[in-house]
Subunit: 150 residues, 2 copies
Amino acid sequence: MSDLEIRPAALDDVPAIVAMLADDPLGARRESPDDLVPYHAAFRRLADDTNQHLVVAVRDGQVVGTLQLTVVPGLSRRGSTRSIIEGVRIHADERGSGLGTQLIQWAVDESRREGCQLVQLTSDATRTDAHRFYERLGFTASHVGFKLTL
Amino acid sequence: MSDLEIRPAALDDVPAIVAMLADDPLGARRESPDDLVPYHAAFRRLADDTNQHLVVAVRDGQVVGTLQLTVVPGLSRRGSTRSIIEGVRIHADERGSGLGTQLIQWAVDESRREGCQLVQLTSDATRTDAHRFYERLGFTASHVGFKLTL
């Protein structure tokens, strides 16, 4: 495979990112790729926040992966800064290519550069393949993740 | 019980917050209440970030509870903004008083005011009492929480 670039997402990448968010068993029910207005508004909010890193993986000029890394300072654990990974998606053509590993490795490396002591993420309980993937990368499934929809 | 105030934490509240973080089966192993330097640095970082809300609950002039609410914009779920609750602690003298419910309700209300569509948190798998507490408040234990210490 040809070279991969992982770089900050640009406004022009939003359609490709939303297409990947929607091409997913859970995402298909909650995304609206035909109406990009709310995504553009969210993109601008992310771009204005220096603790947010929305990135894309690009191969041969095509967006083939994405994730969002959020840096969160805090008092717990002797004033540790942690990072949170959200919205990991790999294009269907790239699944099994090792791209997921490269993206998560990028997020871990960037977290170190930002001075984080901890990286965390949650994964829907139904995504058992993803759970094995994160455990292979050294993550520990130590927590229960709770959500409340407003 | 007398009136309770939930307000933004001030620098002077840091010792009381750290004492609560440390007075906990898990926190006892990872906090250093005798060395506040890293906590003061983290407090300043939180104070400079408009997406961070570190609050304390105060009764009769005493800090009796704390939590950190982080507002996280994102593209997923039609550009939803979510909030993340971390570092929930209730003073030993106040456990069972309903203060936990009041603090979480504050966080949910503040999340609505900030335009969030989702509130999320993770809880260590060993904190089974906390899990029942969050489920009683309407949260769903839908996710597995992964952590990687750097």
